[in-house]
């Protein structure tokens, strides 16, 4: 791990403890955690040095994004960092504050309002970046009506604006779109899912080593080993999928890779969460035990901004509608 990543991990360990997560999830303020991490300078890592940034590429920032998943960070660190880089790459001003990103659910309602249902981190964001019937916008959350369509502790909310607020930033859409806001939303969730899944695997390994039944640690049973092996496979694949989408020029991920990463990470998230709970037994579903902090997020982030089926269909359409080239050509084009 490089020094940059180590330093951020220390900040997360000290500031984003599970007590802090529970406090913010319960409706407590996220302002202190936000200002701690903002003060560290990490929100601007993708910006050029003369802009106060660290001039990292998305690929170099990838380990930082994984950490945010590993620590179930209750503020939109990955989304804000990625959106700041993306805004900058599109020649836009980069506002202060936490940015959430709306997925393919964002749309204009019949009455002229703007709706962004089920936005990950919508409860703790200052801005929502999204595409509303062809218009790219940054919308201020303080002007939105928020409704929670989720269970206890969730930071996913529905946001609704009755009209375009005065403080909204309306962007001009480029002629060639590499990565629309919905794809950026998917790209940001991939490393979060991968990081949280890795943490869930580690917790399950620890638990199955300590828990004894029939006179031995349950990890010694072959059926448990097989489940843990499959979890590890999925976690390794999720990390690769997330690293692929972060391998991008100019801080703008490829739309295809965003689809690939979100599809694979979403599907695997369910397998990992299900196996973790099966192997933890009843303790895993208690509020007190930390596993739920991660598995709730795995399932929410899977549903946010398009599930595996949505992104698989998107990708399938993209492959079939190409008039030339083989399936192998398509795969190669994604991994150049």
């Amino acid at each position: 791990m490089d020094m940059f990543t180590e330093a951020l991990e220390r900040i997360f360990q000290e500031r984003a403890t599970t007590a802090v997560i529970r406090h913010i999830e319960g409706g407590g303020s996220s302002a202190e955690l936000w200002s701690d991490i903002t003060a560290s300078g990490y929100m601007d890592v993708l910006l050029p040095e003369n802009d106060g940034g660290a001039d990292l590429t998305l690929g170099e920032a990838f380990p930082l994004f994984m950490l945010a998943g590993k620590y179930a960070l209750p503020i939109p660190f990955v989304q804000t960092v990625m959106a700041r880089g993306w805004l900058r790459a599109h020649g836009q001003a980069v506002p202060q504050g936490a940015i959430a990103i709306a997925g393919p659910e964002a749309h204009c309602s019949d009455t002229g309002g703007l709706q962004a249902p089920g936005v990950a981190y919508g409860a703790v964001a200052d801005w929502v970046l999204g595409e509303f019937d062809d218009a790219w916008m940054m919308l201020p959350c303080d002007a939105a009506v928020k409704e929670k369509g989720e269970s206890r502790g969730s930071q996913m909310v529905d946001l609704c604006w009755t009209s375009i607020p005065k403080t909204a930033m309306v962007m001009e859409k480029p002629e060639v779109v590499t990565c629309a806001p919905a794809q950026l939303a998917a790209a940001a969730l991939a490393p979060l899912l991968a990081g949280a899944a890795r943490q869930v695997l580690d917790m399950t390994l620890t638990h199955t080593a300590q828990r004894k039944q029939f006179g031995r640690a349950i990890m010694q049973f072959q059926s448990v080993q097989a489940q843990l092996s499959v979890m590890a496979e999925r976690v390794w694949a999720m990390r690769m999928a997330a690293q692929l989408v972060c391998n991008a020029a100019n801080n703008v991920p490829s739309g295809r890779l965003a689809a690939i990463a979100k599809a694979r990470c979403s599907e695997a998230a369910v397998t990992v969460a299900d196996s973790a709970h099966a192997l933890h037994g009843a303790i895993g579903i208690t509020e007190e035990y930390d596993l739920q902090l991660y598995t709730r997020r795995l399932r929410e982030w899977r549903r946010a901004s398009g599930t595996e089926t949505w992104w698989a269909c998107y990708l399938g359409q993209d492959v079939i509608s190409e008039t030339r080239g083989t399936a192998l050509d398509y795969i190669l084009s994604c991994t150049k």
Binding site: G59, L205, T208, M219, Q220, Q222, V224, Q225, A226, L228, S229, V230, A232, E233, W236, A237, R239, M240, A241, Q243, L244, N247, A259, I260, A263, R264, E308, T309, W311, A312, C313, Y314, L315, G316, Q317, V319, I320, T323, T326, A327, L328, Y330, I331, C334, T335
Partner: protein, 384 residues
């Protein structure tokens, strides 16, 4: 945890440059064959085809020039293999020798063995098979009973091997045999021999499979006298050598593209026959996204091989997942074809589906079963 992180890696440009010439060659040689023949790929035997590849310098890519190789490394082999498999080229004649017997001889062989075998492998003049499973030893490989006893003139070999891919077409078998001790001694006392399959006392009996092919055989050894220098590597070190070899066997593109001819045929079918349904989109998206991620994992393992590491556990992890998607492809595509009953798939496409449905169970058997792979991963997780 002893499973290494698999980081995104890329094929170097000079190796990527091989893709164009290989593709042009395959367009002339292979693309005209019916898809159900191409679907056999690394089960398809054609010695002349392998010699044509050798003439172009595309065999022995990982072997040194002084032994007739191209001295290019694992990435070059990855590119050539990927193109051969995706096109459905009949590569089985040289496949095993090029993938693992050559590297094994390079690593453990004497100078004389290297000088004898490696140039022949690079010229597609020596085809190899691997003798591991026996009638009573499949996944429990350490229980093998085939025995070689050292006498004044060499190794006297008795026993049998089974499910040996390509034995009926091969010149040599690298076999894991017992050279001392008893089956209860497990990993102790095992050695590897290079067996000349033309020796007296060797009987090869092909076994028909359910698709009508005979790609594997049973091989009997009845008092076969192998020369002293049939031993490869160290006597008693066979288990360790076999495991090092398996890192080459388990990580490559052949664990990814066994159903690729079907993917390509079905993609062409979908483009030609539009459908408003979403079933095909979902299946296509799932297949492409899985293959993209697994290809990157396979390249990450290849990068480790290129650095001289022996990533046996990581290779097992990739193999288990990759064979899962290889097996899922015929199932998913068959379902979508049936879900679009008014868009009739050509007989050729349906033959590919039917053939792969029957071959697919072998994807997770060959090279070590799913259960063995998961056991290896469990060891990597320090569970055993």
């Amino acid at each position: 945890m002893t499973i290494d992180t698999l980081d995104l890696a890329f094929i170097p440009e000079q190796d990527e440059a091989l893709r164009g010439p290989v593709r042009a060659f395959l367009r002339d040689e292979v693309s005209g064959l019916p898809a159900n023949l191409r679907a056999r790929s690394w089960m398809g035997f054609d010695a002349d085809f392998s010699r044509k590849l050798a003439d172009r310098g595309w065999l022995g890519l990982t072997l040194p020039k002084k032994y007739g190789g191209a001295e290019r490394g694992p990435f070059a082999r990855f590119v050539v293999s990927e193109e051969l498999l995706a096109a459905g080229a009949p590569v089985s004649a040289h496949w095993i020798a090029d993938r693992q017997s050559g590297p094994l001889i390079l690593k453990y062989g004497t100078e004389a063995q290297k000088q004898f075998y490696l140039p022949r492998i690079s010229k597609a003049e020596a085809f190899f098979c691997i003798g591991m499973s026996e009638p009573g030893s499949g996944s429990d490989l350490a229980s093998i009973r085939t025995r070689a006893v050292r006498n004044a003139s060499g190794w006297l070999l008795n026993g049998s091997k089974i499910w040996t891919t390509n034995a009926q077409h091969s010149h040599y078998m690298i076999a894991l045999v017992r050279t001392s001790g008893e089956p209860k001694d497990r990993y102790q006392g095992l050695s590897q021999l290079i067996i000349d399959l033309s020796l007296p006392g060797v009987t090869v009996r092909p076994i028909a499979d359910m698709s009508g092919d005979a790609h594997f055989s049973e091989v009997f050894f009845d008092n076969v006298l192998c020369p002293v220098d049939a031993l490869i590597g160290e006597e008693g070190n066979g288990w360790a050598q076999v495991n090092a070899e398996l890192a080459f066997e388990r990580s490559g593109p052949e664990r990814l593209y066994s159903s690729m001819v079907l993917v390509e045929s079905w993609l062409a079918h979908c483009r030609k026959n539009p459908s408003p349904g979403s079933a095909r989109l979902e299946a296509m998206g799932n297949i492409i996204s899985w293959l993209t991620v697994l290809r990157s994992l396979s390249i990450a393992v290849t990068a480790k091989l290129a650095r001289g590491e022996s990533p046996a556990i990581e290779a097992s992890l990739v193999k288990d997942m990759a064979t899962e998607i290889e097996q899922a492809i015929p199932r998913l595509i068959a379902d979508v074809i049936g879900a679009e009953p008014r868009i009739v798939a050509s007989a050729e496409l349906r033959r590919v589906v039917a053939y792969l449905e029957q071959l697919a169970p072998s994807f997770s058997l060959r090279g070590g079963t799913r259960e063995i792979m998961r056991g290896i991963i469990a060891r990597g997780l320090n569970l055993r």
